[in-house]
């Protein structure tokens, strides 16, 4: 356990120092990895710990992103950048979760998918959200004590936010609440029989996951300066799932690794060959077949996803 903490701390330090040694483009890639890593981590809380597979997680990513875009355009402060998007996403998660928790398994997948597609359809067509083009020209927030508009400044800010989020998630997972979630994942009927209000726990997990997904979406807007309806599209949810699987469910570090793998594949392989989608799909299939525990799972020698 201490080894893992040390390892994680080392990684954080390495990431922090990265801009000093590398050019702008690799640093930007790393920042994207951090953002998507947070998104994937939030999904992992839902999937790997609570055992709820959602194909609509992009809904909260998109909500966080659009709320941040609208808020930052009006007043670029930390509240707009972090608080409002997270709250909005959390609220949406509360509403969507309330309806979705009633069903499980495949039906849960489909219902969450439907909800996120609703947001997609709405954002795609209405002009106040920029329709197909989305919102552009979003300024970075003004953070006291740091110049977030510069590459290095943003790097530090992003790292702090993501690391703190990861820590919070880590604490949640280790807490009694996290254990109850895992119990629900293993055997819901038993947990219910023992007396836990399973539905409430699931809803809470859903909301927490939504909050952090919204945060990731907001960071994405701050990183890119723009957001479009694709943020809500089901393929975005699917890509997050991909990252979680490749990295390893039920671990918090895994999804970040998965995000790294995905983004590196997308950015670097596409420089060399047009067939990067083939490679991505093939890699993912191989992982699902042979290494269901993902990278982390294999490194730990685990046998696979919890049944």
């Amino acid at each position: 356990m201490t080894r893992r903490l040390l390892g994680s701390a080392l990684v954080v330090v390495a990431v922090a120092l990265f801009p000093l040694s590398a050019g702008n483009y690799p640093v930007k890639l790393l920042q994207e990895i951090l953002i998507w890593g947070l998104f994937a981590m939030s999904l992992d809380l839902l999937m790997g710990y609570a055992g709820m597979v959602s194909f609509g997680h992009a809904a909260f990513f998109g909500i966080g992103g659009y709320v941040a875009a609208l808020a930052l355009a009006k007043s670029p402060g930390l509240v707009s950048a972090l608080v409002l998007p997270a709250l909005a996403a959390g609220l949406a998660a509360l509403v969507i979760g309330f309806f979705s928790i009633r069903v499980s398994g495949v039906y849960f997948i489909m219902l969450t998918l439907a909800f996120s597609q609703m947001f997609y359809a709405y954002a795609f067509q209405v002009s106040w959200l920029g329709a197909e083009d989305g919102l552009v020209g979003i300024p970075r927030p003004v953070v006291p004590g740091a110049n977030v508009s510069s590459l290095r400044g943003f790097h530090g800010y992003l790292l702090v936010v993501v690391t703190l989020s990861a820590l919070v998630l880590w604490r949640i997972v280790r807490s009694p609440f996290g254990h109850v979630l895992r119990g629900i994942h293993e055997n819901e009927a038993r947990m219910e029989a023992v007396g836990y209000a399973v539905d409430r726990y699931k809803l809470l997990a859903f909301v927490i996951a939504g909050v952090f997904a919204g945060l990731a979406g907001s960071l994405y807007v701050q990183f890119n300066g723009s957001i479009g309806p694709d943020a809500f599209f089901w393929k975005t949810s699917g890509e997050a799932l991909l990252m979680v699987i490749i990295g390893g469910t039920g671990t918090l570090g895994g999804p970040v690794l998965g995000a790294a793998a995905f983004i590196l594949l997308q950015s670097l392989v596409s420089t060399y060959t047009e067939r990067w989608m083939l490679i991505l799909g093939g890699t993912f299939i191989l992982f699902v077949l042979f290494a269901p525990g993902g990278i982390v799972g294999a490194l730990r020698g685990r046998v696979g996803l919890r049944a």
């Binding site: 309806f99 489909m110 219902l111 359809a121 709405y122 991909l242 083939l278 996803l305």
Partner: protein, 288 residues
């Protein structure tokens, strides 16, 4: 006004029938194997492209209509045997994810072989004009699609309800394990059903080709409507698939005609409403 309504209703019927051909395969696969085949849209796409090549090669639309689904069915069988079978014992999520990976794979494969351009598929000469039906003008090809689709629906119903294979499939949909326990080679049945579903998807792709043309992202585009149909109709139910697709076909068509700004939203709202009021769909079996 009535002629207008009727014209739009015909449009909706043609689209609905297309959706039916696609979604019936999806619902069978889910009903039997508990697999949400996200790559089903890819079978649709492969069917369209296979049809494209077959027409280019033989110059005969009808031959392509016959052969292309077989090709796609074969591909489906290969996928099932090689990749899905090892996953049956794993939680259903793994299978869903596997099919998701196949979406990327197939799309790029198609781009590689046929290029990224949009490709046109000509309707058969027999049906290349337009006809007037009670004052509504509709391309004769779409009329053919409606008739073909309804005939297929009847044939499928006969197959499922009146043949031994159909009985096995129904039994498998109801309880695969028990069916296996009765001594039926359930693995072969699984493969057959998957291949059959894929072939139906491919068939709908060939049929849709002359209307929509063929392009690499067509699978992803049609997948959502197909999923919605299956959910609304009830996973695993043929009747549900038919009713669901007709309903969604009309909803989407009239949505586009009357509320163009919200046209995309309408079908999702329909889906969510059905899921909330009756999660198993209109004709699905009650949730366990």
């Amino acid at each position: 006004m009535p002629a207008d309504l009727f014209a739009q209703a015909l449009n909706g019927l043609a689209y609905g029938v297309l959706l039916f051909l696609l979604s019936v395969g999806l619902t069978l696969i889910f009903g039997m194997l508990d697999v949400v085949n996200l790559a089903h849209g890819s079978f649709y796409m492969l069917g369209a492209y296979a049809g494209l090549s077959l027409i280019a090669g033989t110059g005969n639309f009808w031959l392509a209509l016959l052969l292309a689904p077989l090709v796609v069915g074969l591909i489906g069988a290969l996928v099932e045997v090689s990749c899905l079978r090892p996953l049956y014992r794993r939680p259903p999520l793994d299978q869903v994810l596997l099919t998701f990976g196949f979406i990327y794979l197939f799309e790029d494969l198609v781009k590689w072989i046929w290029g990224g351009r949009i490709r046109s598929i000509a309707p058969p000469d027999l049906f290349s004009g337009s006809v007037s039906v009670w004052g509504a003008i509709i391309p004769s090809y779409r009329l053919f699609v409606i008739v073909f689709g309804l005939v297929m629906a009847v044939m499928l119903w006969l197959l499922i309800e009146r043949t031994r294979l159909g009985a096995i499939i129904r039994a498998g949909v109801f309880d695969a394990e028990m069916t296996g326990g009765l001594g039926i080679n359930i693995k072969l049945v699984f493969t057959t059903v998957f291949a059959f579903g894929a072939a139906l998807g491919g068939l709908s792709g060939v049929i849709a080709g002359p209307i929509q043309s063929a392009y690499p992202s067509m699978g992803v585009a049609i997948l959502i409507p197909a999923l919605i149909v299956v959910v609304v109709g009830g996973l695993g139910s043929l009747k549900g698939s038919l009713v669901g697709s007709l309903v969604i076909g009309q909803a989407e068509t009239f949505g586009k005609a009357w509320l163009p700004d919200s046209s995309m939203l309408i079908i999702y709202v329909v889906m969510a409403t059905v899921m909330l009021l009756r999660p198993q769909g209109l004709f699905g079996r009650p949730l366990k």
